[in-house]
Subunit: 369 residues, 4 copies
């Protein structure tokens, strides 16, 4: 349920409404949009009579029920106002969201050694990327395959962060590793195979770290938004949705089927920022660039791409990694297309000019880990 | 199997090689590319010793086997040279192919009456479209749903063609209707549900009409190319491949899952032109434009979109049809993106300046219906 | 819409009701069940007031609307009475239906030569099969693969029929071949790839031949029943539904995923008889027997299995064909399981004792081809 | 890699071979089959020359490499000998395996309160079930849905175990809960959504508790066996595989598509016992019984079914739960079919007569939690 307030409502009146609402068994969030101020109510709202709420204040314009099963993730919950996920990195604040530059993220599938990760980070920085991705804990189909260097890889990511100032995105696979991962990661990734690991979702929901939630291999759009809702409901509003290819009947020429239509569909359903990972989405480097361009054209807010100094020698996912040269060429094309559509790619120069949203929720810890 | 000839091979020598080849039980096609001249061999080539062929002439540079199950549809068969499907329309020749402007096609799901089809054709022409699409025979899930106006609708399409000079694309559902459909259509469509109607494929393969082959709902890329091979093998080289959404596990927010990655995958496998139909691909008008832009960005050679003067009153597929206004806006955006990528959208001004390929195969009927 | 009549309604009164109904724009069918007599109405029933119908006669117990999109195929249309598809074969009448012995059908994928088809027919007869299956026209993915011997194969099937008295099941792929196929086949098969070839469905609907309608590779249960509805709506009530494996994401160890749950689901939705084809359903001979037994246990009315005198030399589908010895062993097991469930396998001895249903619709041609 | 020993090899000689093998970097397991004794080698076997191993002893009949990616889970690893998972319950030992009675398991989706869980346990015991299933921690799509009573529900399961002597099967969702769950569960369930939660798989692999590994919603057979391999590779040989329905394109009439063909496929690939869960597999109580019978007919070693004293009032999964009466009727039918196939359903009388396998691995803890 949401309460839409008149634009000129006073802070005192808003505060008073919050206090009045405390009589019901609900938690409330204020969402200050460009056009309206909205108060979102979560809890046992089924039994609340909307007319009672309406009567609380003359500043209340409308009281609306949210009919979607995903409440806080729904577009309605913010009355159409896209949310902004603000991430603090050594180089400055980066904002993910529909009304912001398109954030691009580069890096290898897994952290292999210090030289390669630092080299890749330096390259990524040079292209304007604000984040480095790299796997420390790797979910692999076979127990006999390389499982990632784990804790020591986290140390190497910290080194790369220190040297370049890039933010770090890395995956957590288990609640037991969350503290360690959170100590290095600026954005914590939940991988496709853990999208419905509800214990993990609840746990990352109690942190204030931005969460990159990858879509499960055969998760419906609604299941995906419900997984995001687990994180939001636990108190963490900083969720970025990442499409990385779904499983279809045809796996002969691509590893997965990258669902580009998820972009406009999510846009019409949710306020959360949308990222596309064309590397896992196709599984073949020669298809990565056209699909990255398609993602930009369809309206993605962020692109994450696997690059490797030497893909043929990568310990994992070499066939889907771009070389530095390929990535640079792609960056140019993405930039050109984004401009045609009235957007642009994020560059390092932009970092210092970020104007933080007034009530920027990510900066004030909701809970410590 | 293909024979690659030196660029300066004389017509007399090529002719002589063809005659020599007649000793084997194969049919041959000459494919004049920009870099090379290639002779394609189809038939029982498994038993031919490539060294015997090589010895036929000093003009022969290389003799190569095609390992893909789709032979004539494979990129190798034309030695990497994209094929050009040339279509004669009242307004002039239109060429579908990778090195040509992007052809856009507009029209309603089904032909409803003279007024609406002529009005739509005139609008389509004004936007620069060279073709009008419109269903006369409609494959419908229910026997009780509107089945298309059939023969009388063909007449209305002929009228619209006469008035506007646009080429006509319409579907054939049965070998028994082929002659009637071919008398009006400039491009004959094989629908998704008939992609493996092998009798129909063989039959359209005996005509010289360009064929629009839609991908089946759960057809793999390879099955789709094998369906194209049926048409090519029957003697008709004029095949355009159209992706229109595949069936996945999630059908809640889109009717199908538009497989944009089919574009780069097909590009790497086949020389045939690639069309995208975002209307059926998504099933919802609000998602059509972002997906059309994604298709252009990923490299499509043609876009087919359902438009209707009044979508809410359409007899079929209203929810996925654009209004004229929406289509015009989309055209502008497609044009902008295509330019960034070094291509452009086809316009009516371009029609008169088409330089036909020297051996343009569509213009000389291989067989009459 | 159906009209349920009291059990003791007189023929005169039923006739009178039919005449009264002719005032509305509907066609009517009388379905004489064990408990009730039902009149089915098809046409523009949406505008009929059920109270008007109710008032027509005191013999009318109830007037019910059918809410499913498949009307005549729905269980409601026969008020829960399973339909019986009666097939005339040289050896006698065979009935497919829930309250009848389980019909088993054997034969090769394709008719290869006279010796093999006659030998297989004689073996099939010896096991108690009442039908021989065998492909004359074969839908093949590749245009270069064996396409079936066509018309000459039909001749060989006729020979096998003459020698053994078995009924013949063979596939039609095109409306143009229907007359030829119908002249030999006792049951006409519509293959999976043609399940939504609506022209073909309409055409076979105008014959009085029993139709074996295979489920499409990715057809939903509802689309399948709607395809059956096309045949029923065209006037042919003799439809048998055959599940033959659907396409899933996993094709490594089985060719398709045999959907055994289709059996109880169809039973709850339709009155039509249900057949299972575990040969195509699995694609591997070693999995055929367990899946055939599962089908019997789940309630199938008929089983169709590919057998071949020498599977390793079969021209098509050898890997999924049983040897004669394997088939005999399976027959014994199917018989044992069917008895436990209160049914039995059809044997040739049963043919002469068939009591035809009183209004047996298949015996009186609705339309000639 | 496996070493096949002659049947009459002495214990001393086997011991000596083990010691010789310690020179290579491998771990070894002895698998005493009915026909042969097999030593399985896991580790870096790629570099071992099989001839060197062969030369170790004249008792060695054969040295074979395992080509499947799943090594210890493969049928070859036990040279075709089915494994036996022995579970200790208060009432006695229960053995899961191909050559043992079919184990049936009943219980509610979630533990709701003491009365209902004890009542259900008593009913289950009366029908001959040796295990009670019941969810304490429930994976639910929505964060707002009932999440299970957690720890307190574990207490109620312990009570039901004490009163009835039944073994307990319940799910663990997080490594953090493993100790608590293992203190009550006789078999620990890994749910479908956690099938590729590799951290959890590794962790349960270090216990000696039997693990019920459910197939993921869109897991291929090979991915599922690789998930089992994670547990085996971590040292726990007691894995039971449970098929519970896969996700297909059709979810209208069943919640999932129960893949009955997984039974013969797994049988041909692995030695592990196979369980079927027709309740989740179909999602509708009316389809549970036919699918349970199909599973028995296809060769399942165990059946798990949701029963509830009052399905219409269940807190979760009511629509797929059988009533006590329905379950009793089904038991009778499963019993009849299993006998026809030369097997039988497990009953409580059988528990005391279990002869434990000589080297029964489950009874000697490999590692404590």
């Amino acid at each position: 349920m949401i309460i839409v307030l008149k634009k000129d409502s006073s802070a005192t009146e808003i505060e008073r409404i919050h206090q009045e609402l405390s009589r019901w068994n609900v938690t409330t969030t204020t969402i200050p949009g460009k056009q309206k101020i909205v108060i979102g109510l979560v809890g046992d709202t089924a039994n609340i009579d909307t007319r009672q709420i309406q009567a609380l204040s003359s500043s209340i314009e409308q009281v609306l029920r949210i009919n979607k099963p995903f409440k806080q993730a729904s577009q309605e919950f913010r009355y159409g106002e896209p949310s902004e996920v603000v991430v603090s990195t050594p180089n400055g604040f980066v904002v993910f969201g529909q009304n912001h530059p398109i954030v691009h993220i580069a890096g290898p599938c897994s952290v292999e050694n210090e030289e390669m990760i630092v080299q890749t980070a330096q390259f990524a920085k040079a292209t304007g990327a604000s984040f480095l991705r790299g796997g420390a804990y790797k979910p692999r189909t076979s127990p006999y395959a390389f499982q990632g260097h784990g804790e020591s890889a986290l140390g190497l990511l910290a080194t790369a962060r220190e040297i370049t100032g890039l933010g770090i995105i890395t995956e957590v696979m288990d609640t037991a590793d969350l503290e360690k991962v959170a100590s290095v990661a600026d954005i914590i990734q939940i991988g496709a195979r853990n999208m419905q690991n509800f214990s993990l979702l609840k746990q990352v929901g109690t942190t204030n770290k931005p969460i990159l939630l990858k879509r499960g291999l055969s998760a419906t759009i609604e299941e995906w938004l419900m997984a995001a809702e687990y994180i939001l409901a636990a108190g963490n509003p900083n969720v970025i949705l990442c499409e990385r290819g779904i499983r279809s009947f045809d796996q002969q020429y691509t590893r997965n089927t990258l669902d580009i239509s998820a972009i406009p569909v999510l846009r019409s359903l949710t306020h959360l920022p949308i990222m596309i990972d064309p590397s896992h989405g196709t599984g073949r480097s020669e298809y990565v660039s056209p699909m990255a361009l398609a993602a930009i054209a369809a309206g993605a807010d962020s692109i994450m791409i696997e690059v490797h100094p030497n893909p043929t020698e990568a310990l994992s996912d070499g066939p889907q990694s771009l070389t530095f040269e390929q990535y640079e060429k792609l960056m140019q094309q993405m930039n050109n297309i984004s401009k045609v559509l009235g957007r642009c790619m994020q560059t390092s120069e932009m970092l210092n000019s970020v104007h933080l949203p007034k009530f920027a929720p990510t900066l004030f810890p909701i809970a410590s880990i």
